[in-house]
């Protein structure tokens, strides 16, 4: 059994930084952003052609499908308002790798569908998608603020 610990502070820092991508933290999205994320995942996994998920999203297809399945289950069980939007927040735990993959998913779908059909296919505007992208970017940079 390997019981060796990091004797030097710099080694401990490296170990801490390498585990950051697998460490999960609770993340909350308002209902409409949760639905937009679901729509983006659906487009990326089932709609858009020619995406190489592992190299472009940064996670393997099975892992992304798992996130989609969980999101789909949540969406199906939500009560919706008059606009068909979930009225509750989605709170679940995501690792940094997963948040980065979700960020990349939203960005790829925005770029592929573009001005012409993002709204028609997802039911959301590109401005709403940009706000979701900002949420993910903010979350990805959050550890830097904590470390400092």
């Amino acid at each position: 059994m390997n019981t060796r610990t990091c004797a030097k502070p710099i080694q401990a820092e490296r170990a801490k930084s390498s585990s950051a991508s697998t460490k999960a933290a609770l993340f909350t999205l308002p209902g409409p952003q949760a639905l937009l994320l679901h729509q983006s995942l659906n487009e990326l996994l089932h709609g858009i052609r020619g995406i190489h998920i592992f190299s472009q999203v940064g996670i393997n297809k099975a892992a992304l499908e798992e996130i989609f399945a969980s999101s789909n289950l949540w969406i199906r069980n939500q009560k919706t308002d008059s606009n068909g939007l979930p009225s509750t927040n989605l709170t679940r735990s995501f690792s940094v790798t997963e948040i980065r993959a979700l960020r990349n998913t939203v960005e790829l779908v925005m770029l592929d569908l573009g001005q012409e059909e993002f709204f028609t296919r997802t039911g959301f505007s590109l401005d709403e998608a940009a706000a979701l992208l900002n949420r993910f970017n903010f979350a990805l940079l959050e550890p830097l603020r904590i470390d400092r």
Binding site: H46, R49, I51, F68, T120
Partner: protein
Amino acid sequence: MSLTDKDAQKIAHGIAFGHAYWKHVADAAEYGSPIRQSTFEQIILETLHSPTKSRMLRLNRTMFWNGREGLWVIHNPADPDLGTAYWPAEGRHEYENLR
């Protein structure tokens, strides 16, 4: 979801002669072989008249699935082109999950 002949023709024409032709037929070659806009219009019209499945989405959008062609048509009255039509990677799954 049923449309009148006049509505279906208007929607099919708007989509076939709008961005969808250039994006999905001319550039991405999703159909497999080159087709004219008039042929694209006929395939869309056939889909609107006899979809394999159809259902309403949020915000007055309607989706029509043509299982024979593997084609999705989404009618969006708020879109200047009246919607889009494309051949998705996994159409059946997209139908089940789109909101």
